[in-house]
């Protein structure tokens, strides 16, 4: 528990660092939000109108003052107003986040439930044809871009079964689980493919290492069956690198998967951030990046806690 508190103490520092960097970076991009929002019509604005809009969005002040205002606002949960949506940034992010979270969870579920068994299977058949097959499949899975996988899946569905993936308005899970899953399954599979391939490769090599460890030999010397040796004695020891990988991938997915969201027309965080950058929606970009950074830190903390749960040798307290 102490450990968690200590880790949490470091969060604000990291977030301040991230916020400064992103604050400056987005402002270094040429163009401003009013021009980006109104396009050519921006030229029709009188200087007075332009100024009042700038005052409304708070972009008339020098950078340090803008930053200070935004920073102090954070403490009351006020991330500013999105120029593009005309709504508070936090509201916009929270509208998009459930979809992204669900997508990330589903693809991780798919990746682990395919990748771990496949990796274990390959490791127990080291260098035999079955192993080679799994390794080739994993290599293909890893090297195929997600848009190719996505397009192939859509093609198979529409050409083979005559159904189109349900697009359009996104239905949250708690409103209609079935409808929601039918919308999410394809994107999740698309993302899960490459993820599963990485998990397969990592769990295969981790298992190979573990299977030559002394305690595996001990388990066999006790007369344990091969099944028990693999699943009970070896696998828990091989999971640490798999958790590391899953944590990193999951963290990325929480930042949104731009291409997959685009292909399946899903309103997730990835597309939102992309659009916000194109629109010079400073407040939204800042808020989103901060939010994503926070997610990453939480995932990292969870990964470290998972290590300790998996392996009693890893002691978090007192570190």
């Amino acid at each position: 528990m102490n450990y968690v508190i200590r880790r949490l103490k470091a969060f604000p520092l990291v977030l301040i660092g991230v916020s400064v960097v992103v604050f400056v970076a987005i402002r270094l991009v040429p163009g401003d939000s009013i021009t980006a929002m109104l396009g050519t019509e921006a030229g029709l604005l009188t200087p007075q109108q332009r100024d009042s809009l700038a005052i409304y969005f708070g972009i008339d002040q020098p950078w340090p003052i803008q930053y200070w205002r935004w920073f102090t606002g954070l403490f009351s949960g006020d991330l500013g107003i999105s120029v593009t949506y005309g709504k508070p940034v936090l509201t916009v992010i929270l509208e998009r986040f459930p979809l992204t979270l669900e997508l990330a969870l589903l693809s991780m579920l798919i990746a682990l439930s395919i990748g771990v068994p496949a990796g274990v299977f390959a490791a127990t058949r080291n260098e035999r044809p079955a192993d080679l097959g799994v390794r080739i499949a994993a290599m293909i899975g890893q090297s195929t871009p997600s848009f190719v996988v996505g397009l192939i899946l859509i093609y198979i569905l529409s050409a083979g079964f005559g159904v189109l993936p349900t697009m359009g308005i996104f239905t949250p899970f708690w409103q209609d689980p079935l409808e929601n899953l039918s919308q999410m399954i394809l994107p999740a599979v698309t993302l899960g493919c490459a993820f599963a391939a990485s998990v397969t490769r990592v769990s295969r090599s981790a298992m190979l290492d573990v299977l030559s460890d002394d305690y595996v030999r001990t388990a066999r010397s006790k007369g344990a069956s091969e099944r028990s040796v693999i699943w009970r004695h070896a696998l828990p020891n091989a999971l640490v690198p798999v958790v590391t990988l899953s944590g990193i991938e999951f963290g990325y997915l929480l930042g949104g998967a731009v291409i997959v969201e685009q292909i399946y027309a899903l309103p997730g965080l990835g597309r939102m951030v992309l659009e916000a950058i194109l629109q010079r929606d400073y407040a939204l970009v800042q808020g989103a990046v901060l939010f994503i950074a926070l997610n990453f830190m939480i995932v990292n903390l969870l990964v470290d806690l998972a290590y300790a749960a998996l392996d009693p040798r890893i002691r978090l307290e007192g570190r």
Partner: protein, 582 residues
């Protein structure tokens, strides 16, 4: 009576098809019921492969029994042909009829499962016990190997126990289902000498209690002398000699057995100590190295603000001096602070306080400002695999900022020749050398800078016994030739006896006894030194009984600001003093 295990003309190979290599060439022996057979040999002799063929564990290590017959007499009186047995039959005999203890208790237990779960597994597999019953059985098994506080230990994971405790857990596990045959594969090699003595005593006691048969694998003929009924000596996959214990020890026939018995270091209570000591001549020369009141402490921090709550007193008030051409051996068990002392002398750990003075010898060409060099335990890990020998030998010279010139190259060639490596070694890489050769390479590297002191931290411990003997000879020769002073850190009393002029015994961070090697080893005064020496297995003392003792080493953790009382020393002979215990 029928033997419990009968092996005829066993051949075992490793590798596949074209790359197949036979490592056991036609081994035959019988093991009687209740008999202890010791298989003795060096690494690569095929002793483990032979033993692990009897329950076909060798299949999983990549081995294959190519021909021969292994017959196991089962508990019900039937005979099982192990070479042709199916998977089901094999898992049925493993653990139930044949138990195994391995060499490294620290890595042989599953780190993520509790001790209890691992012992219970045997009962679940072979006795069908579950839940409370299995738990109770596991507790009984732990009590049987004399583990104090067994109930609580069941919930511990392996990282929470010491090596000796873990080896007891291994024994408890192997014996859980009362197997009629126990294979002990170098069960004490990774353990401290007093712990080794306890494990050996325990095995002997359990054998008396259960009447099981045992195959005891070891490289140490002195160790098996105390437990074996019969001995089988193996070399390069063949049995060179087998017979009754007394016959092998007293009338060895084969030259290799004679070599193992005589050429290899055996502890002989100080009678084999060196007599060419530097302190025999008066007046005494100026010491090469003086260490005074060396203290190494590691602060322990805790609480919200990481304030110091105590300190680990790894080394506490160690003092000694070292003459040119002299070997001081520091002996002690793991955690006694002997390696920390060596590392402090090398400057690898910074001492909390203490004074060193290193007296450089009269300046010679190539003399560095760092007259202390080192050789470490593991020759496989202490040579960078990406550097060839020339680059490895150049490292220390580069580190002192000197150019690599013709003189340095000439020195490389001369040193390689001197340590007994082939002339063409310079362009080769570490993996092309054997363990003994690598350690010679490490020695050559240490001598590149012409040091006056060489710290040898368990420098021969990882080597095979006969290689060990040759490396020790080399070290003694080099010492005479270059007037080197050795600080020799070791846990192995037999090796220490061969190389040391003086011995310092360390216990819990302090020197408890120091003095002339012959005097300390033959007439130990401190209770700990006595216990240590009594624990060393020897052929001469093979019939002595060693008492089981489960006392723990005192904790080295002290409160902040704790200072141990100043040591009082009792003089015992000209060069031999003992710490007086309060």
């Amino acid at each position: 009576m029928k033997p419990i295990l009968s092996i005829r003309d066993l051949h075992v190979s490793f590798g596949q098809a074209a790359a197949e290599k036979e490592v056991v060439h036609g081994v035959s022996f019988d093991l009687g019921v209740g008999e202890v057979l010791a298989i003795v040999g060096e690494s690569g002799s095929g002793k483990s492969v032979t033993a692990l063929s009897s329950n076909r564990l060798i299949d999983y290590a990549g081995g294959r029994i190519t021909s021969g017959k292994i017959e196991l007499l089962r508990a019900d009186g039937s005979v099982l042909d192990v070479t042709s047995a199916g998977k089901q039959e094999l898992t049925g005999i493993r653990g139930a009829e044949i138990g195994v203890i391995f060499q490294e208790p620290m890595t042989s237990l599953n780190p993520v499962l509790t001790i209890g779960a691992q012992i219970e597994e045997s009962f679940r597999l072979h006795r069908g016990l579950t839940g409370k019953q299995a738990q109770a059985a596991a507790r009984d098994a732990l009590e049987r190997v004399r583990i104090p506080d067994a109930e609580r230990r069941l919930k511990a994971t392996p990282n929470q126990l010491s090596g000796g405790m873990l080896q007891r857990v291994m024994i408890a596990m192997a014996l859980a289902c009362n197997p009629r045959l126990l294979i002990a594969d170098e069960p004490t090699t990774a353990l401290d000498v007093t712990v080794q003595a306890q494990i050996m005593a325990l095995l002997a006691e359990l054998k008396r209690e259960t009447g099981m048969s045992m195959i005891f694998i070891s490289h140490d003929i002195g160790l098996v002398a105390g437990i074996a009924d019969r001995v089988m000596v193996m070399q390069d996959g063949r049995v060179v000699e087998q017979g009754e214990l007394s016959q092998i020890l007293d009338k060895p026939q084969h030259p290799y057995t004679q070599h193992l018995l005589h050429a290899v270091p055996h502890f002989s209570s100080g009678t084999a100590a060196r007599t060419d000591g530097a302190r025999t001549t008066a007046p005494l020369p100026k010491p090469t190295l003086e260490v005074d009141d060396l203290v190494v402490r590691y602060p322990l921090k805790g609480g919200w603000f990481s304030k110091p709550v105590g300190a680990v007193h790894a080394v506490d008030g160690v003092a000694f001096d070292l003459m040119p051409g002299e070997t001081l051996a520091i002996v002690g068990e793991s955690g006694s602070g002997k390696s920390t002392t060596a590392r402090a002398v090398l400057g690898l750990v910074s001492p909390t306080r203490g004074a060193f003075s290193v007296e450089a010898q009269a300046a010679r060409p190539g003399q560095s400002r760092l007259p202390v060099q080192m050789v470490f335990q593991n020759p496989y890990a202490s040579l960078n695999p990406r550097l060839n020998v020339e680059q490895l030998l150049a490292e220390p010279v580069i580190a002192t900022g000197q150019p690599i010139d013709a003189a340095v190259r000439a020195r490389m060639a001369a040193l390689l020749k001197r340590v007994g490596l082939p002339e063409d070694s310079l362009a080769r890489y570490p993996h092309q050398f054997s363990g003994g050769q690598r350690q010679r390479l490490c020695i050559a590297r240490a001598l590149m800078l012409n040091p006056s002191v060489v710290v040898l931290d368990e420098a021969v411990s990882a080597l095979d016994v006969s290689v060990q003997a040759r490396v020790l000879e080399l070290l003694v020769d080099l010492q005479h030739e270059y007037g080197l002073a050795y600080l020799f850190i070791s846990h192995d009393m037999a090796v220490v006896e061969r190389i040391a002029h003086r011995v310092a015994v360390m216990y819990a961070g302090q020197i408890v006894e120091i003095g002339d090697a012959k005097s300390v080893l033959s007439d130990p005064q401190h209770p700990y030194t006595r216990k240590l020496i009594a624990a060393v297995p020897t052929i001469d003392r093979r019939n002595q009984h060693f008492e089981l003792d489960t006392r723990q080493v005192p904790s080295l953790v002290r409160s902040v600001g704790f200072e141990p009382p100043a040591a009082k020393w009792l003089q015992h002979g000209a060069d031999h003093k003992v710490r007086a215990e309060a």
